[in-house]
């Protein structure tokens, strides 16, 4: 949970069309890290970008104070990649499956079975993609479009938040 993940904000605000330069996004994310920003807004040619980051204060130096021991679990690079990936999905029109609840994500019905789906698999609407365990209940999450799995964001047996991206599907057009 303590990931220092960098995320593009509300979809409405990060309305990124085909115009966006991903190198630019990468540069922005770099700036965020360098300047230790929490929130950052930029407007270029009518395009508004807002980026937020989960670390107030000077992370590397704060680590010197034992009370602030929360060391980043995932490297900053991964966070930058996630921001980029998210922007790419939005731009490409991929269909995202997000978690409808808080719980633990499982890719297979049990530890010995094969995953429900993998990247490249074709899925049908209604097909089970994963299980989220919450309150000791196993909740099957289904595809709501026909298409091909192009990305799996969540890690097996790891916690997921409400609204967290689980899968990207390239819909059959």
């Amino acid at each position: 949970m303590n990931e220092k993940n960098i995320k593009a904000l509300e979809p409405a605000e990060s309305a990124m069309g085909g115009k966006i330069d991903y190198d630019e996004v990468r540069k922005l994310v770099g700036l965020l890290e360098e300047k230790n920003l929490s929130v950052f807004e930029l407007e270029v040619e009518g395009l508004k970008i807002k980026i937020a980051r989960n670390s107030p204060g000077a992370a590397p130096l704060m680590a010197a104070a034992p009370a602030v021991s929360a060391a980043p679990e995932t490297p900053e690079a991964a966070a930058a990649a996630e921001a980029r990936a998210q922007a790419i999905e939005a731009a490409k029109g991929h269909h995202l499956i997000t978690s409808p609840m808080v719980g633990t994500f499982y890719r297979a019905p049990d530890p010995t079975s094969a995953p429900f789906v993998d990247i490249g698999d074709t899925v049908k609407k209604g097909q089970t993609l994963c299980i989220i365990e919450a309150m000791k209940l196993m909740n099957e999450i289904e595809a709501d479009v026909d298409g091909t799995i192009v990305e799996i964001y969540a890690e097996n047996a790891k916690p997921v938040e409400y609204g967290q991206k689980l899968f990207a599907i390239l819909p059959v057009s």
Binding site: V102, P159, Y162
Partner: protein, 452 residues
Amino acid sequence: MFSKILIANRGEIALRIVRSCRELGIKSVAVYSEADRQALHVLLADEKVCIGPAKASESYLNVANILSAVEISGADAIHPGYGFLAENAKFAEICKTHGLVFIGPPASIIRLMGDKNKARQTMKKAGLPVLPGSDTVIDDLSVAKKVASKIGYPVIIKAAAGGGGKGMRICRSASQLEDQFPIAQGEAKAAFSDSSLYIEKFVSGARHIEIQVIGDRVGKVTAFGERECSVQRRYQKLIEETPSPFIDWKTRRRMIKEVEDAASEVGYQSLGTFEFLVDEDHKFYFMEANARVQVEHPITEMVYGINLIKAQIRIAAGEKYAPPYALEMRGHAMECRINAEDPVTFAPSPGKIDFLVLPGGEGIRVDSAAYGGWVVPPNYDSLVAKIIAYAPSRELTIAKMRAALETTTIVGIKTNIPLHLDVLSDPDFVAGRYNTQFMEDHLSSKAAEETG
């Protein structure tokens, strides 16, 4: 002591709890709705879990997701703040069955205080004076009329499950009671899914005064000097202060003593607030008790030099309550609730805060989760900041509060700061001559001035 506390709330109180956790060396987990992704309590907590969409019933009131968040974060206690699940006895019970510490009173106390009529009867037995009224809940108009004529008009009818003024009606005659009783029943039903009412003597010109208590697990209850909360509009508190300009030390001592005794009697634990009506002869009558931390708790902290949230957490972890020094009030504290609303029409004013300069310096405390660039979501209550002024005397505190509000700059949303400045200059308020009717009178005389 706990290792990790999940905060099942948002806004300034969630941030307040994040800060207290940090001071105590406890990790904090913020839960948040999609509308609060950029909220300060989320950005400043050690961990965070999104628990649902903007709608409170699907996020901040979503018990399943909150408990899942506890599970995946490994928190060992939950702080509910105020509002949302804070006074939900069932939730407190669920926490217990899940082996989690609910940082608040035991479920039995929450349940007792949640039933306003039962609370009143219990406190009466425990020795607190209550207003003459119905001893049981009333579901029937004919019974209501009988009780009311026995008490004597004016009376006030209240929802047994109530709070926030919903289902409350003042009746000055039997015919008014006939009109209002079914309306109040309908309101109570709509607000609390329970149409039960009870009836009390209505005291005009009364003050709304409350006593903070803290009870630990070894059964010791400590009560503090009063908070004066009579500046209310439609039962919503606007300005609170301590000490009350109206309460003398004799009354204060008596209130503290009687509340300590009554709260001990019922085994009160954690923070709580006993609300009283105080009439013009300094007679006080128990109205209800709130089994949670109160929005206005900071003013008590200022005059006593203590931290109630930290104390609440320690007590929940089993510690005795040990105040750091002799509990004595020093100086005067006042809180203004700054809401994102039109100061004249009271219409909510959510939106982006383009520019923000909060007040600071000697004697000023700000409890706020607002920041420049933050968008106040339209989904929740409109409280954006609590500004607390502290000075040696009431007069100096008012001057300080005025200076603080005049130098507060909030651009992008409307706030009720102009209304506060207006009240702070009202001669009756300045003289300490006010009761629960004050805001109504103040607003209508102001309206008359403007049209006249």
